[in-house]
């Protein structure tokens, strides 16, 4: 199964899978873990792209996990369902007995991901054990596992953010509209611009204003920040990425800011 969120990395991954199996259809479904807090523009793009390809889309719903009592909704001021996705994802993998899950994660994104294998073994609990990873030499990948275990596969491991954009431009791939500059009502929190919307509202004293923005990463509306930008075409986005002095996750992801090892901690539990 291939994880497809509609984000730039996963749309590149989907394209590579499409090409690898041509002229056959890709022999596995795509899956989206839907937090219920996604950008509507991205969901629309997801459905259209999947329909064009004629592949099966499995939507694993975090809301369904909450309704079924598998997880509790987030409490307090932070409404992010980011961490809850892990339970939904692992349930979906177990339900369909998937042996392998393709993901678009890259090593240059984050320091814990820099340690990730291309073929990453997960035990019966979906756990990642960073200190006990299989050595990976040449391009001889070891995908062997017992029943109930699975492998996460990251074909874009050695791509950088710039490589992803260059490929999108080279292939002239369509991207969700929120990656390009547009006018949006936003408010500032912890140095990030968050989108005003149904799932997250400004606190008292957080002023809402309209600005020309775009998103560098696509995640939950509740934890993904926009950057001020006027880059409205792929070429302009590439020029902006080349000149960026702040990393894509550092700039725009509240979920990585919880602690110095927030990503490692989530990955150990089975996060993407």
């Amino acid at each position: 199964m291939l994880l497809f969120s509609g984000g730039k990395d996963s749309l590149v991954l989907l394209r590579l899978a499409e090409k690898a199996f041509w002229p056959c259809p890709m022999p596995f479904p795509v899956m989206h873990v839907d937090t219920g807090h996604n950008f509507p523009e991205v969901l629309e793009f997801r459905d259209r792209r999947v329909a064009d390809l004629g592949v099966e889309l499995v939507v694993a719903s975090v809301q369904a996990s909450i309704d079924a009592g598998r997880v509790r909704g987030p409490q307090g001021r932070d409404p992010s369902r980011n961490r809850l996705q892990t339970v939904t994802l692992l349930d979906a993998i177990a339900e369909r007995s998937f042996d392998a899950v393709f993901g678009g994660a890259r090593r240059d994104e984050e320091k814990a991901r820099a340690k990730e294998r291309v073929f990453s073994f997960r035990d019966e609990f979906g756990q990642w054990d960073p200190k006990n990873q299989r050595p990976e030499l040449w391009s001889l990948y070891n995908g062997r596992h017992h029943r109930g275990q699975h492998i996460r596969v990251f074909p874009l491991s050695n791509w950088t953010e710039m490589d992803v954009w260059a490929y999108i431009a080279h292939e002239q791939l369509e991207v969700p509209s929120i990656y390009l500059a547009h006018r949006r009502r936003v408010f500032r929190r912890d140095g990030m611009l968050l989108s005003e919307g149904p799932y997250i509202a400004p606190d008292e004293g957080e002023e809402v204003f309209e600005a020309s923005v775009r998103f560098r990463t696509v995640g939950d509306m509740t934890c993904t920040g926009a950057i001020e930008s006027v880059a409205a075409s792929l070429e302009e986005v590439i020029a902006e990425v080349a000149a960026a002095r702040v990393g894509e996750r550092g700039a725009t992801r509240a979920d990585d800011r919880v602690s110095e090892t927030a990503m490692e901690d989530r990955k150990r539990e089975g996060y993407f």
Partner: protein
């Protein structure tokens, strides 16, 4: 853009992190938020200065213990080339990480402290890089500022390393005197060492000729997947998908398929973007052949007059990567190109001491991080070339069937007669 992959190995003290930090910083590859995070972490650990090693050490245990445990990959680019650094710990207990990093590297950057000269760790890095047949070596004599930028000292170390490297199979070696801390000869030539007439390190990395690192002579195409769409548009289509390991293929050429030994010709070489008139590494393509032969994953397409060795017996240097030692008579799954098969360790000729190059002929097991010459008996024939000639068709990994762990890495020696 061309990609150059290189390895570094060593401890915090020899200035490795400072050197990598400087390369990243000078090529504007460190983001401000990353620098700020490292700065915060350095202060919370009460370091006297910003410790760039924290940039590399991503895992909780590494940051707590101040050591690199695993291979860390770093990415940077200049207008000329893209680079991937595989940064590995230098201590002997992490030999397997060094071997992993070296397996895909074009270049090994061996770092030496000008005050201490060539030490055990630098020798080990060189031995392992040579064993994994890394094609290019750079000896960086660091901390030249601490020896007064002395030409004699540099040349002394260079000669010492060269005489050691002469015992290895090192084909291309360049020595550069640097100071990572002050940036001498890292990105630009240093005015402090006018006697040095070679390039700066970055200039060397950018301009080194690496196109011939891949074998472009021996045509090898291990079949990865058979494509049969059964659709109206592609009714009788049968294509063999895979990545070209070495050499090149063109439509119309006569080819030989292993293990059957049957010959046919290439009808077309296709990709999702249309047909191509030549396929060479690292291209992934689909081949259509003139005749319908019985071909499946693990088979190999080559040329009638240039074929790999075909044998169930292979001699190889094996690096052992597992805490469970390799036993004489032990059974492991060998994964080689797109083929996997059970194998048996039939002989252990000797164990190699990577520090002294001494061969222990009495060894009966290979422990974690040990290297030895081994003969394997494989259940089915492998189609292989000597590793020194062809890294793709000469390398394999061994997998323990009980745990599914990757436990060994092998470099096949010339054909067994």
């Amino acid at each position: 853009m061309e990609l150059l992959r290189f390895t570094t190995a060593g401890s915090v003290d020899d200035g490795k992190s400072t050197l990598i930090g400087r390369l990243l910083y000078e090529t504007k590859s460190i983001f401000e938020d990353q620098l700020e995070a490292v700065d915060r972490a350095s202060r919370s650990r009460r370091y006297e200065q910003v410790n760039l090693a924290l940039l590399m050490d991503g895992l909780r245990a590494e940051r707590e213990q101040g050591i690199t445990i695993d291979v860390a990959y770093r990415y940077f680019a200049t207008p000329k080339r893209k680079f991937i650094i595989a940064d590995t710990p230098g201590h002997i207990q992490y030999t397997r990480n060094m071997v992993t990093g070296a397996s895909t590297a074009n270049l090994a950057l061996v770092l030496v402290d000008a005050r201490n000269g060539v030490v055990e760790q630098s020798r080990r890095h060189a031995v392992l890089s040579s064993l994994l047949h890394v094609p290019h070596f750079v000896l960086c004599v660091n901390k030249m500022d601490l020896v007064g930028y002395d030409q004699d000292r540099f040349e002394e170390i260079q000669e010492e390393f060269q005489s050691f490297a002469a015992r290895l199979e090192v084909e291309d070696l360049t020595a550069i005197p640097i100071s990572a801390l002050y940036g001498d000869n890292v990105v630009t030539r240093s005015p402090n060492m006018a006697w040095y007439e070679g390039p700066s390190l970055l200039h060397h990395l950018e301009n080194l000729y690496i196109a011939s690192d891949r074998n472009l002579i021996d045509p090898r195409f291990p079949v990865q997947y058979v494509l049969r769409p059964h659709s109206a548009a592609f009714h009788d289509y049968r294509g063999y998908a895979g990545q070209v390991s070495s050499g090149s293929f063109r439509p119309g050429q006569e080819v030989l398929v292993l293990p059957s030994g049957l010959t046919t010709s290439i009808e077309a070489i296709e990709t999702a973007d249309g047909p191509v008139d030549e396929a060479f590494p690292p291209m992934s393509v689909t081949m259509r052949l003139a005749d319908d032969l019985d071909i499946s994953r693990g088979d190999m397409i080559c040329r009638p007059h240039n074929r790999p060795a075909v044998s169930q017996d292979v001699d190889a240097m094996v690096a052992w990567l597992s805490e469970m030692p390799m036993q004489l008579g032990g059974r492991y799954v060998v994964k080689h190109t797109t083929r996997s098969a059970r194998s048996l360790v039939q002989e252990l000729y000797y164990r190699l001491d990577v520090n002294t190059l001494h061969r222990d002929l009495d060894a009966t097991v290979l422990g974690l991080n040990e290297i030895g010459r081994v003969r394997l008996r494989v259940m089915v024939p492998l189609f292989y070339d000597g590793y020194r000639r062809n890294r793709t068709t000469g390398g394999f990994v061994l997998i323990d069937e009980a745990t599914n762990n990757t436990v060994g890495a092998g470099m096949i020696l010339e054909k067994v007669h």
